[in-house]
Symmetry: C2
Amino acid sequence: MSGKKLGAGVVRTDRLLMDGRTIRYYDTQGQERNAVDQREPETQPKIGEMRLDPLNNEWVVMAAHRQTRIFLPPKELNPLAPSRPGFLTEIPESDYEVVVFDNRSPSLRDTDAPEKIPSELTLETPPVPAAGKCEVVCFTSSYDASFKDLSPNQIRTVLEAWRDRVAELSKVDYIEHIAPFENRGEEVGVTLAHPHGQIYAYPNLPVKTTQMLAVATAHKKRTGRVLLDDVVARELSDKVRIVAENKEWVAYVPYAARYPFEIHVAPKRSVTDLAELDEQACEAFPTIAKEVLQRLDGVFDMKMAYIAAWHQAPVRVGRDVMRLHWQITSVRRAPGKLKYLAGSESAFGAFMMDVWPEQSAQQLRDVRI
Amino acid sequence: MSGKKLGAGVVRTDRLLMDGRTIRYYDTQGQERNAVDQREPETQPKIGEMRLDPLNNEWVVMAAHRQTRIFLPPKELNPLAPSRPGFLTEIPESDYEVVVFDNRSPSLRDTDAPEKIPSELTLETPPVPAAGKCEVVCFTSSYDASFKDLSPNQIRTVLEAWRDRVAELSKVDYIEHIAPFENRGEEVGVTLAHPHGQIYAYPNLPVKTTQMLAVATAHKKRTGRVLLDDVVARELSDKVRIVAENKEWVAYVPYAARYPFEIHVAPKRSVTDLAELDEQACEAFPTIAKEVLQRLDGVFDMKMAYIAAWHQAPVRVGRDVMRLHWQITSVRRAPGKLKYLAGSESAFGAFMMDVWPEQSAQQLRDVRI
């Protein structure tokens, strides 16, 4: 079976898992991927339901089958390890570079009968099926590694996998927005310690994306310019919050950061989404990604819990005003202390920050790497 | 010094703390409150700054002095205990029923020079002072108690304190919204174990309140009715998500709950805010409040971490469409498992629920109390 050729010499090979889910191997060494999933076939969970929260007009996904998903298994029972004799995992091969497969307990899943999501949302709006995709991205077969420990070539392979998934998922007719992200650390709810991320492909614009689109649209109307371009220009001009920089990318603590350690990483030549990054930008990403995450772990010399999320233009709307960037937010504010979303943040959406963004940027810059 | 008479025989007496902050004693037994704060005077922290997050047009409060605030002291160093010889706390008296005092490390603080918050928010919007109020509400002098352990009379006194604070803070010209809430449990970031809540009085409408106001306004325009009235009517009609009920109040797991254990408690005869509750509604509140929190702790027979927040009409706008209710959200989904806001929820605002609200309501109803 010949694979699909992507950038940087990466080749993708697709295989099926025992229950019909797809696993995609992203390789750089010409590997053959023929291993068959030997596990007993099992039935995939049914599609969930999206209900409209009538007080906020926001969709909430009901995916009750997820309550029983695997929870922090020990290393020897790691389902994201390569399979080995006597222990069959989600990855049938005995080794891999990067894989992306459909989540076994997806919050959103594919469907043959997508329903149109009503544009006018009211108390009477009925539930709709939770259509979409939830995919798991394994960054490496090495259990003890972390994104920052990957080589630049490995990070480039992950980037090619993200780009490939964004390009392909953008073609699915019921998908409106694609969100690759990584949760790292039990402090942010990670249930599997193996280094991995996820891709959520939503059938609607998520709440934050809707909000960012409205603000970016108003900015374009008022100024004729793209909001993120102006934000990046301000950060480059203010200088005091910049954490790292190369010819193609800049990393900064945003002017109004919400978390003690929050870093945004944006391409200097703005692009709509991951799929549209050009070769120079792709080539320059791994080093700055690695540096930023090394600085983050260096601040307290410990593994920082973080959420690293790619924000990009939605699939079908706002592509003239929304731009790609990577938001990394850490919930740690000091060794032994976390930033929690309590009453003000969680119930009212009003964030309180304990650290000046300029001070946080200084701490990140001061890390010796 | 004679106090101010409130409902249910509660009398409020004001005193000053060593740094000029006010402490208010809410008493039912005619106590004299003459104790003087014997601690060394200290300077109050300066007012913080609100910066506009330009990608979301949301204000973030910078209150860097809070980073060093007291963090989980042992019981013998509890600053919310009554003062005793050799250990002076925030409460100069040797005992108290309910007290409300200005937070020593406030995110928002009072000012003589409030600035008008711009109504048009753009990338160029300058920062404004973080004006407002942060108050601490001690529910009882008993360290080991919890809200659910209070007697109905004690809960009534807390309710009178909340109502008094809402009425008074509503008269401050730079305050636009008042949010009494309780964070309970280290899992939601509580830094003091003593049973207490907080009141945040914001100089603007917080994000969630702005959103709820927009939705409620659209509902009124479309139907002529008040949104929360219709939501409560649906819950009463659907029945399956009701957790507790009396003549004046109903408690339900909302139709599109975001947390495995989420309970909303609403007056049946809707009112705008806490200050406007009438005697019958006040009288009926303590028993349902106690029952609901007992049921919550009963589900797994453990102290559940929760955020309990009063949502009400803003001070100056939307009083024809917004209504009072109490939202209790627990982050626990099972013994040993928490619900985290990870990539989808935190970065994109898209909530994924692991439990059907109807199932959660059943579990809460099944608790024997």
